[in-house]
């Protein structure tokens, strides 16, 4: 029986792994052009947070900084700074959820897009209507489920982590990006 269980377990894992594939809904180029259609240039501005900065972001946002490296571009239209594009990852039920956050030059959220989502339930978080509620949020916004962010049943963990992720990014803007560019 043990051999049977063992064989079935590994067979199921093997089959599942063989059938697994990454579902990428949006590429970096696509989110760049949808967030900043008027941009003429994207300047790579990746952030490597210092321990002090990470600690300050955690204190300010109340959200853990799991990765001190942040993929960022400064969007320019001719010589004018028009905003920031940040690619971030948050924990989903099984895998990371990759999403992009575009910030206006004043630090308010311009657009949020889910680039990669591979969870069982809650694909509705990719719905532009759900993502729209983040637009205009600025540093200091509550970003709490059932308060200023509506929840999606069956995807509460994903909704909570995206809301927390945006809160962390707004703190990152306030502490690191605000005075750059």
């Amino acid at each position: 029986m043990f051999n049977l269980i063992r064989h079935c377990f590994f067979l199921s894992l093997l089959l599942a792994c063989m059938m697994a594939h990454a579902t990428v809904y949006k590429t970096i180029d696509q989110v760049k052009s949808s967030a900043f259609p008027d941009a003429t240039k994207f300047i790579p501005s990746d952030i490597s947070l210092s321990d002090a900065q990470a600690k300050a972001i955690e204190k300010q946002s109340g959200v853990r900084v799991r990765n001190k490296q942040q993929k960022v571009w400064l969007a320019m239209s001719q010589d004018k700074k028009i905003g920031w594009l940040i690619i971030d990852e948050v924990i989903g039920k099984h895998e990371f959820i990759t999403y992009s956050t575009a910030l206006n030059a004043d630090g308010s959220v311009k657009l949020l897009e889910v680039m990669d989502y591979r969870e069982t339930h809650g694909g509705q978080i990719r719905d532009p209507d759900w993502l729209k509620q983040f637009i205009g949020k600025v540093f200091g916004a509550k970003l709490k489920l059932d308060e200023d962010i509506t929840n999606i049943s069956g995807a509460t963990l994903s909704c909570k982590h995206i809301a927390d992720g945006v809160k962390r990014l707004l703190s990152t803007y306030d502490i690191v990006l605000k005075n750059q560019g």
């Binding site: 029986m1 894992l13 059932d146």
Partner: protein
């Protein structure tokens, strides 16, 4: 001849084939992080899950004992907070000289080698507090069932049971570290074949607790602790007849459509104890292994 070994292979093989054949060829996932401990989450409204449970129990104080319990479960979310399940039960026994001896030196049950479908259960799980939004997740669970074979001896019986659970869950470290604890009360009423009107009542009290840490995308590992106790004729006298404590590791893999969990539980201590042993082995085994495989649709 339908032996218990053949039945095990047939049952597991059939279920695996069915699960795989109805699945689309896309990437997969859902969650049951523990083999024995229940989490507080419920399925969202309109979604369903098909599970196979297979538990292998082996080794008594003496002789040869191996038994397998199977459950095929279909679960459905009626609302976002209420889910229902139906279960088909099966079991196999292969017993040779492992029954405990009564005061006259006779085995308490005969040797047995059998397998088959044994019963059915239904369950409702109601989520009262969300693990993700409230300070602690809380769910209530109720499960009436019928089983026509004794779990220990494999003898024919009629057994009606009503299991109730209080399920608590708390997550830490961005929901990568999960802790859950269940308090289970199960009332059973059974009559062995040929026992006339001799119905027996029994109450089982069980506390299970588990940790599960997601150490890599799709993969979690943890540990489970189970305290099990039984109170025969509990309506008349509330005395604990025996208890057993199990402890062991588990590993869980989950993706978009499929998940699987494997738990090893070692019987570590109990009473009344077997001779020269600190464990209770009359109604439990030295170890259990449980595999659960789920498919979401």
């Amino acid at each position: 001849m339908f032996t218990s070994r053949n039945f095990s292979k047939l049952f597991v093989g059939t279920i695996f084939s069915s699960v795989l054949s109805i699945s689309p060829l896309v990437s997969n996932a859902d969650e049951n992080n523990w083999g024995y401990v229940y989490g507080a989450d419920t399925l969202p409204k309109g979604s369903s899950e098909l599970y196979l449970w297979a538990t292998d129990r082996r080794h008594k104080e003496h002789g040869k004992y191996n038994a397998q319990d199977y459950q095929l479960e279909l679960e459905h979310g009626f609302t976002d907070k209420l889910q229902g399940s139906i279960y088909l039960l099966g079991s196999s026994h292969s017993i040779q000289g492992s029954a405990p001896l009564d005061t006259n030196g006779n085995p308490e049950y005969p040797d047995n080698s059998r397998s088959g479908i044994t019963g059915a259960k239904a369950a409702l799980k109601w989520n009262l507090l969300s693990t993700y939004k409230d300070p602690i997740g809380l769910s209530l669970y109720i499960e009436p069932g019928y089983n026509n074979r004794s779990k220990i001896s494999g003898e024919k019986q009629d057994e009606y049971s009503l299991e109730t659970k209080l399920i608590l869950q708390k997550n830490f470290l961005d929901d990568t570290l999960l802790w859950a604890t269940n308090l289970t009360l199960e009332a059973e009423r059974r009559k062995f074949e040929g026992a006339g009107n001799g119905w027996e009542d029994e109450l089982e009290i069980e506390v299970t607790s588990g940790l599960s840490y997601r150490f890599a995308p799709n993969w979690s590992a943890g540990t489970e602790l189970r305290y099990h106790s039984e109170y025969p004729n509990w309506r008349k006298e509330f005395n604990r007849e025996h208890y057993a404590i199990f402890l062991g590791p588990n590993i869980h893999w989950g993706a978009e459509k499929y998940w699987a969990t494997l738990t090893y539980m070692a019987n570590i201590v109990g009473a009344p104890q077997a001779e020269d042993d600190i464990r209770h082995l009359a109604e439990h085994e030295r170890r259990e292994i449980r595999l659960k495989v789920g498919y979401n649709f």
